[in-house]
């Protein structure tokens, strides 16, 4: 479909554009179609209608959101993304998946509400629903920024991702990893390019998850942390806002969908075949799953940005842009994050799943459709890595960039090989933390531990106050009743017999008082 806007109509004096195709939205359209194809091939062995239906709706919502030309259409697909994707989590049909899905849904509804509030104010201020550059110049635009931020897994609002994605089915996680966060990245690239705050938020996103990924036992949760790390690179690129940086950010989003999808597929295959996905329970699977092992290693090499693999040709764009724009400190953080991602996603995932100690599991290769999907993804990782210009031609801005020069290749190889050396050294020195069957909480500790305990204490205090108040009221009432009863007995004032005239006098006085009060 040629670039342009389609399906425009008037709604409440506002112009709605249901479909807008330009280089930015078309690139995301391509990658979402590729991701959809991979996910459906991967799920062909499933006989679960719920997952297929939810998956189709989810993909459609993501495509609707990236091709939306106005904010109202974006909002509708934004909400549909949340509603359709939560069923992919609940499809696991476990208690853990159910509660994780509820927490996931709460975050996304909050994001939707913020977006709606922001859109309403924004449209009144600018007189248009157009989905274009918004920026942070006006206070109300923070609502939209935060809405995008929740879906992009900004620090402190990222837990829906690490909490819910690993609880989904093997197929569901492959779907989930591709769409929600990339729609948010697209929205940020569309509405907040060059917002400096994003550089710092993105840098934090690249660094903090890698610490949690190192100690995490659930290998799909390790990948979820790694997903936030990769999103950080994209957010930094959008924040820098130069042509090279934006190109790097969206190129990395493109590559991330494929290599992260491949890694989630590999771990999903392990879960499907062994029923386990914790590092402490796995190991030695290369013996009976050699094809899955090889395909996982391709994904690991891609996410680690090894030369000739896809991650290298896009991550280096963001890092070059950071240096070009004078963000030296940020560049050092990105460099640290690059070494870290190799450590936890490049080495840890394949090592603990397929090598390490032999757990004695002799599971075979996954079904042919799963292998086919992984093979296509791995092929794309290599093709993009070897022929990056094919991807560069699709990028929104025309810039000249070549990742394969001596400096880039040498420095990246030095960084990665010496990171691998550190892994070996730490293992030989027995300093590497062993995989333990544990649950690690990060910021979610606040709302999964502190908040419930705090609210429990508050409720206990309220119950105690309530009980004390009731007791004192009961005592007061009892005393008053006793006093009235005393007064009603013969010596009491109420127990005395009064004359009829006296009673009439008192009634007259009362009525007169009422009459007097009515005039005030």
């Amino acid at each position: 479909m040629p670039a342009g806007v389609y399906w425009q109509f008037e709604f409440l004096n506002f112009e709605l554009v249901l479909f807008r195709a330009d280089k930015l939205s078309t690139l995301f359209g391509y990658i979402f179609h590729i991701a959809a194809l991979l996910a459906f091939i991967y799920s062909l062995h499933e006989r679960d209608t719920l997952q297929y239906t939810a998956g189709m709706l989810y993909i459609g919502s993501a495509l609707g959101a990236v091709f939306a030309g106005d904010l109202l259409t974006l909002f509708i697909f934004w909400e549909l993304l949340a509603v359709s994707s939560v069923f992919l989590i609940w499809a696991r049909k476990s208690r853990r998946a159910y509660v994780a899905g509820l927490r996931y849904f709460t975050f996304h509804i909050l994001s939707g509400l913020l977006l709606l509030a922001g859109i309403v104010i924004h449209s009144r201020m600018v007189g248009s629903f157009e989905f274009t550059y918004i920026g942070l110049q006006q206070p109300y635009t923070w609502l939209i920024f935060l809405a995008f931020g929740i879906k992009s897994a900004f620090p402190f609002v990222h837990n829906w991702l690490t909490d819910a994605y690993p609880e989904s089915t093997p197929v569901g996680t492959v779907f989930l990893s591709a769409f929600t966060t990339k729609v948010a990245i697209y929205a940020l690239a569309r509405s907040f390019p060059g917002t400096e705050l994003l550089v710092y938020i993105g840098a934090a996103m690249t660094c903090f998850p890698i610490f949690f990924a190192v100690i995490e036992n659930d290998l799909r949760r390790v990948l979820a942390y790694s997903l936030i790390n990769q999103l950080g690179f994209m957010v930094v690129g959008i924040g820098i806002g130069t042509a090279l940086a934006i190109n790097g950010a969206v190129a990395h989003a493109f590559n991330d969908v494929i290599f992260k999808g491949l890694l989630f597929m590999a771990m999903g295959a392990v879960l499907h075949m062994t029923g386990r996905v914790n590092g402490s329970e796995l190991g030695g699977l290369y013996k009976t799953m050699p094809k899955t092992t090889a395909l996982c290693i391709v994904g690991a090499a891609s996410i680690s940005a090894f030369p000739l693999f896809s991650g290298f040709v896009s991550k280096s764009m963001v890092m070059s842009a950071a240096l070009d724009s004078g963000y030296d400190g940020i560049w050092l953080m990105l460099l640290f994050a690059s070494a870290g991602v190799f450590h936890h996603a490049g080495i840890k995932i394949p090592y603990f799943a397929f090598f390490a100690h032999d757990a004695g599991i002799r599971a075979g290769e996954p079904p042919g459709n799963m292998l086919t999907a992984m093979f296509i993804a791995a092929t794309l990782c290599v093709l993009v890595g070897v022929f990056p210009q094919a991807l560069y031609r699709l990028l929104p801005y025309d810039t000249v960039y070549s990742p394969y020069d001596t400096t880039h290749v040498l420095t990246q190889l030095q960084l990665l090989f010496f990171s691998a050396l550190a892994f070996v050294w730490l293992n030989l020195m027995r300093l590497y933390p062993p995989e333990l069957a544990s649950v690690n909480l990060d910021v979610e500790w606040l709302y999964r531990r502190v908040l419930p305990r705090l609210s429990q204490r508050c409720l206990n205090l309220i119950w105690r106050l309530d009980a004390g108040l009731r007791r004192s009221l009961q005592r007061g009432w009892q005393k008053a009743s006793e006093r009235i009863a005393t007064l009603q007995q013969s010596p009491g004032i109420l127990g005395q017999d009064g004359s009829t005239s006296g009673t009439v006098t008192w009634v007259t006085v009362l009525l007169a008082a009422y009459l007097f009060l009515s005039f005030i």
Partner: protein
């Protein structure tokens, strides 16, 4: 018998070979830093063996801090 089948890394010599290959690659990359000209932009990049050191030290710090976090 499949139970007695020996796989690639059941033999410790193969693991040693892999590690040796890694050490050799690291040594070559270390040496290349002094031979090849690197185009540098950041002041720290100009330091010899900046990238190897940054990668190694960064990962060691990462793991030790992560270990400390788990204890905490």
């Amino acid at each position: 018998m499949s139970g007695n089948k020996h796989y690639l890394f059941d033999n410790p010599d193969n693991i040693k070979k892999i590690l040796r290959a890694l050490y050799i690659c690291c040594a070559i990359l270390f040496g290349l830093d002094f031979i090849l000209h690197r185009h540098t932009e950041h002041l720290w990049e100009k330091a010899p063996v900046f990238y190897p050191l940054y990668g190694f030290v960064g990962c060691v710090v990462l793991v030790l801090v992560a270990k400390w976090m788990r204890k905490g």
